[in-house]
C-alpha cells in the first residue's frame, strides 16, 4: 500500500490527502444526490464552464490537430520516460536546481519536511497543487510542526472550511457565496487577519477579504511549495499556469522554492509547450489564455528564490505505466474538462469519488495510482454511465471509457498487475460473486444451444408469472431499474419460424 492511503483526515482539518474511510462511490453519491444545494451549485457551475469551453475551442480551427499532437507528445514521452527523466534531472541541475526522487507519498513528504526544516522556517505558502494534495503534504508537514497555507482562493475556502476540494480546477465549486461568507467570518481570524467587519457575500468583497488575509502571509513567507503543469526535459524549465497571482507570489517572493511534480508531467522540448499552452487554458477555464503563466529554469540571480528543489514523484505512476491499456491516463494535463461534461459528476459531486482526482479522470486514475483493493477504489470504475462525453472533450484524447471497462474487468476477474514495481496477482474483488456466477452461467448456456433454447422458451411462456423485481441478492439492482420485458417468443424461434424455409417472409406480426 502506498503512503498516500494513510493520508490523515483530521490533521489541521484541511483534509486534502486521500480520503480514508470514504464510503464506496454508490453510497457517497447517494447522499450527494439528495443534497439540493450541492446539486444546484454543481449544475450551475458545470453547465456554465461547458458552454464557455465549447466557444473557446471553436475559436481555433485546428483543435483536432492540436489534440492529436498533444496525445502523441505525451505518448512518446511516456514510452521513453526513463530517458527524459534523466535529461530533465541534468537540465534542472545545470540551471542551479536540486533534484530529489520520491518513490511514494511518505518519501516525498519526508523530503519536503526536511528541506523546510533546513531553512529554519515553520511556515510555508502553497500554490494549489494536485500532487501535494495527492500525497497529503499539508497534514504530513503539520505533524512535523510546519504550517502550510493554501493561497488559491478556492483552496483557502476549502482549508478554512475544514472541507475537501471537490473539483480539480475550482475546488470549492460545491460552495455558494453565502456559505463562503460564513466560512470567512467564522474562520479567518483564527488563521491570521480576520474578515473585515460587515463582510457581505458579493464575490468582489469576498475576494478582497482573501487578498488582505493572504497578502500578510505572502509578504513574510520564506518558503514556497508548488506543483507544476509542465517540466521541459530539454531546458529544465518548469511551468505553472494560474489565474490569481498567488502562484507568482509563491514562486517568486520566497527564498526557497520546493516543487513536487509527478514524473508524468514531462514534455521533451521547449517547442512542445506551444501545443499545451493552447489546449490547456481553453479546455480548463475556457479562456484563450489564463491570466498568469510562470516559467522558471533553475534559479536566477537576484530574481526569485535563491534555492530551488524539484521533487520527482512516482507514487503509483510507474505502476500505471505498466498497464498497457491504463497507462494512457498518464497523458492527463489536469484540465478538468471531463468533470464538467460528466452526467455522473454533475449529480454526485467531487467528494463522492473519495480522492483528490474526482470525475471521470479520477475514476480511472485513482484506482490505478492506489490499486483496486479498497472498497472505494474498486467501486470507482463503475462511477460512470460510459456515455463517452469525457473522451470527446479530452484535449489529449484519453479514452476514459476504454480504461473504465478495462478496470471493471480487473475488479471482477482479478489478474496480474504491478504494485509498487512488483508483479501482484489480484484476486477477484468481493461483492462481485453474482456477476461472476452470471457470466459463468452465460458462458455455459451459450456453449450448450439445446439448454439455451429450452431455457428461453420456458422464460417466455412463464412471462405472466414473473415478478417486477428480483428476489434475493438481485433486489438492490432491480430496486432502481425496471426488469426488461421478456418477448412472447424467443428470437431464435421467431427467426426459425419467419426467415427459414416454410415461414412467411413478412413474419406473423
Amino acid at each position: 500500500m502506498s503512503g498516500s492511503e494513510s493520508g490523515n483526515e483530521s490533521g489541521n482539518g484541511t483534509g486534502t490527502g486521500t480520503f480514508v474511510g470514504m464510503p464506496a462511490f454508490p453510497r457517497a453519491a447517494h447522499d450527494a444526490v439528495n443534497d439540493q444545494t450541492l446539486r444546484g451549485n454543481l449544475r450551475h457551475a458545470t453547465h456554465t464552464i461547458r458552454a464557455k469551453r465549447a466557444k473557446a475551442v471553436a475559436e481555433v480551427s485546428d483543435w483536432a490537430a492540436l489534440r492529436d499532437a498533444g496525445k502523441r507528445i505525451k505518448d512518446h514521452t511516456l514510452r521513453h520516460l526513463d530517458r527524459y527523466l534523466e535529461q530533465l534531472e541534468e537540465s534542472v541541475t545545470a540551471a542551479g536546481g536540486t533534484v530529489h526522487w520520491a518513490a511514494d507519498a511518505d518519501e516525498a513528504n519526508r523530503i519536503v519536511a526536511q528541506l523546510v526544516k533546513e531553512t529554519g522556517e515553520s511556515e510555508v505558502v502553497k500554490v494549489k497543487s494536485m500532487a501535494t494534495q495527492e500525497i497529503g503534504l499539508n497534514e504530513a508537514l503539520l505533524a512535523e510542526g510546519i504550517h502550510a497555507y493554501e493561497t488559491d482562493l478556492a483552496e483557502l475556502i476549502v482549508q478554512l472550511g475544514k472541507d475537501r476540494p471537490s473539483h480539480i480546477l475550482v475546488p470549492a465549486i460545491h460552495r455558494n457565496r453565502s456559505e463562503i461568507r460564513d466560512i470567512f467570518r467564522s474562520e479567518m481570524g483564527s488563521w491570521g487577519r480576520p474578515a473585515p467587519e460587515g463582510l457581505t457575500d458579493t464575490p468582489a468583497e469576498l475576494a478582497e477579504a482573501a487578498r488582505l488575509h493572504l497578502r500578510e502571509k505572502f509578504l513574510r513567507a520564506k518558503v514556497g511549495v508548488s506543483g507544476a503543469n509542465f517540466m521541459v526535459a530539454e531546458t529544465g524549465t518548469l511551468v505553472v499556469v494560474e489565474s490569481e497571482g498567488n502562484g507568482r507570489m509563491c514562486l517568486t517572493l520566497p527564498e526557497t522554492l520546493i516543487s513536487v511534480v509527478g514524473i508524468e508531467k514531462i514534455v521533451p522540448t521547449w517547442r512542445d509547450l506551444e501545443v499545451f499552452l493552447q489546449t490547456l487554458p481553453r479546455s480548463s477555464t475556457a479562456e484563450r489564455m489564463n491570466p498568469y503563466t510562470s516559467m522558471w529554469t533553475g534559479t536566477t540571480d537576484e530574481d526569485g528564490p535563491r534555492a530551488f528543489h524539484l521533487v520527482l514523484l512516482d507514487n503509483g505512476r510507474t505502476d500505471t505505466l505498466a498497464d498497457e491499456v491504463g497507462r494512457q491516463a498518464l497523458r492527463c494535463i489536469r484540465c478538468s474538462a471531463c468533470l464538467n461534461v460528466c452526467p455522473v459528476y454533475e449529480r454526485a459531486g467531487g467528494h463522492a469519488y473519495g480522492s483528490v482526482y474526482p470525475g471521470p479522470i479520477g475514476a480511472i486514475l485513482s484506482p490505478q495510482l492506489r490499486g483496486t483493493q479498497s472498497e472505494i477504489d474498486a467501486s470507482l470504475p463503475y462511477a460512470s454511465s460510459l456515455c463517452g462525453a469525457c473522451y470527446e472533450v479530452c484535449p489529449v484524447a484519453i479514452d476514459i471509457p476504454e480504461v473504465l471497462v478495462h478496470l471493471r474487468e480487473r475488479v471482477v476477474e482479478g489478474g496480474e498487475v504491478i504494485r509498487q514495481g512488483n508483479k501482484v496477482v489480484l484476486r477477484p474483488a468481493k461483492g462481485h460473486a453474482a456477476e461472476r456466477a452470471a457470466m459463468r452461467a452465460a458462458r455455459w448456456a451459450f456453449t450448450h444451444p439445446a439448454a439455451l433454447r429450452t431455457g428461453q422458451r420456458l422464460a417466455s411462456r412463464t412471462r405472466r408469472l414473473q415478478p417486477r423485481t428480483l428476489p434475493g441478492p438481485g433486489r438492490a439492482w432491480s430496486g432502481t431499474r425496471d426488469l426488461p420485458a421478456l418477448p412472447k417468443e424467443p428470437f431464435r424461434d421467431w427467426w426459425q419460424r419467419t426467415r427459414t424455409r416454410g415461414g412467411s417472409k413478412e413474419g406473423s406480426k
Binding site: A65, V275, P291
Partner: protein, 215 residues
Amino acid sequence: MSSRERILGRVRRALADVRGDDTPYEQAVPREYLREHGDRSVEQTVELLAENLADYRAIVHRCTAPELPAVIARLLAERGSASVLVPPGLDEGRLAATDVPRIADRAESTPEELDRVGSVVTACAVAVAETGTLVLDAAPDQGRRRITLVPDHHICVVRVPDQVVSSVPQALERLDPARPLTWISGPSATSDIELDRVEGVHGPRTLEVVLVSAG
C-alpha cells in the same frame, strides 16, 4: 538502492512490452496544427491584440512614440499614484513628462516596500495577439518578476508592430527559456466564487497597456 534507481528501474520494466523505437523526436510527433490562426495584415494583428487584451479587462491605449511620455504622465496622474517603480533599463525619456517620485527596482527591497508602491511601468518581451497575452522576460527594461506582481497598478508598454506576434507558437520561438518568464493575460482574476469573474485577488488589479507605434 536509491529511489532514483528504483523509479528508473520501474519505468524500464513497465515499458517492457513497448517495442524499441529510435525514431527521432522531430519525426515521432507530426505537427499538423497551424502556426497561426487566420490570415491577417500586420495592422489587423495589432488590432486583434488590442481587442483581446480589452476582452480580458486590460485597459488599452494607443499612441505614437513622441506622445508616450505624456500618456504615461496622464495615466499616473489619473491613478493618483504617489510613487512609480521603474526597472533599471527602462528608457528614462518615457517618464520625462511626470514628476511622480521614482522608486528603483533593487534586489534588497522587501515585499512590504513593493506593496506601498503606487504604480509600476515596464516594457515587455513579446505580445501575443490571438490570446491577448504580454510576455515579460525580466530583461533590464522589465525588471524583477515581483515588481509587476506586488504593486496594484501595472502600466506595460508594447512597441507595435515589432513586438507583436500572432500566436503562441510564434511567441515561444522568440523567447529564451533560460530567462524567467511571466505571461500576463489581463489583470489577476478569479472565478472561484460561483464562477463570477473578479479582478485582482493577488496580482495587480489594474493592467494598462500602451501600444506605441513609431509614428
